[in-house]
């Protein structure tokens, strides 16, 4: 018996990237812009979507990722737009993030021919989702003011991989010791010049800006083949 060294020189996440590219091809074929929406648990993703998707000038579908349950999907279904729930504990071992394979499994259930924009609401988690692309056009994250000013320093990968950072729950600023300037300073240090918006799902401040941004992503997609 002898041993052989096999040269591989491959990114260990190549398999996921390959599937993500296949997803992207499917989305492009139907002219659908795709947003991967991420944050820590409880930062306000679902509530922001409830506010921003109501009255949006685009046909929108949602792919809702959660470990368990359909609470978020149910809330968004009330907006009368197509919502597909993906539970990571139903056959995927309770994963803490969505990956390209999971998203691919949901594609047959998505009415891609009838929508311009797909919002993938990822599992609440600032670590793993950053590592796994799923075929999206844009990555957006939410950081609530209740999470503190150091978040960008603690989770640089997530803050760097997103092209838009929504700073949510600004209606609470008067009740908190949160230093917004310090947060913005840290954000700029980790992802210089990244686009960010101050927003409050509760008061409605900044929602129109986020809605406009989503509409631009919908128009970014190539025309349907």
């Amino acid at each position: 018996m002898h041993r052989t060294k096999v040269k591989i020189a491959e990114d260990a996440l190549d398999a996921n990237t390959t599937i993500a590219n296949a997803n992207r091809a499917d989305f492009d074929r139907h002219g659908v812009g795709v947003v991967n929406f991420m944050s820590a648990p409880g930062a306000g993703k679902t509530t922001l979507l409830e506010k921003a998707l109501g009255g949006i000038d685009a046909r929108v579908g949602v792919l809702e990722g959660d470990v368990q349950g359909s609470a978020d999907a149910d809330r968004l279904a009330a907006l009368h737009l197509p919502v597909v729930q993906l539970n990571t504990d139903a056959g995927f071992g309770g994963e803490c993030h969505l990956d390209a394979n999971m998203v691919r499994s949901a594609i047959p259930d998505l009415p891609l021919a009838e929508i311009d924009l797909l919002v993938i609401e990822n599992v609440g988690n600032l670590v793993c989702p950053a590592e796994f692309t799923v075929g999206e056009d844009a990555r957006v994250m939410v950081s609530a003011v209740t999470e503190g000013e150091d978040k960008p320093l603690k989770y640089p990968l997530m803050f760097r991989t997103c092209e838009l950072v929504l700073i949510n729950k600004i209606d609470l600023l008067e009740h908190l010791d949160f230093d917004l300037d310090k947060f913005l300073y840290h954000l700029d240090a980790v992802h210089p010049g990244v686009e960010h918006m101050l927003i409050s799902a509760r008061s409605g401040e900044g929602i129109e800006g986020f809605r406009d941004w989503l509409q631009r992503v919908a128009r970014r997609a190539p025309a349907a083949a």
Binding site: M1, H2, R3, T4, K5, V6, K7, I8, A9, E10, D11, A12, L13, D14, A15, N16, E95, C96, H97, D99, V127, C128, E131, F132, P152, L153, P156, L157, R160, D188, A189, V190, H191, P192, G193
Partner: protein, 119 residues
Amino acid sequence: MHELSLSSAIVATTLRHAEGRPVKSVQMRIGALRQVVPESLDFYFGIVTRGTLAEGAALEAEYVAARLRCEDCGRRWSPELPLFRCPGCGGAAVETLAGAEFEIDSIVVEEREEAETHA
């Protein structure tokens, strides 16, 4: 939990290239910007390989420090903290020269015994 997902990805790629042969070790290059905790990765690698042809394989990881280059002034530096603005000119256009790797460089497998006689 992050390292559990990453270990699964490493093992899947490893087994694909092992082509049915037992794996003795995996050589990787992991960049500091990937936020991988070495002890955690070793721990989960050991768990994920159980019951596979890579069971008991050693995970040999070379951790690569981050190295950045400013696209405006050309300055190169190795950031200690995750700070990405150029310390020289303050530019925001920064290229990552090293530190973002998550690569399987090679694996060592045990070859099957050759048959003494051929049919």
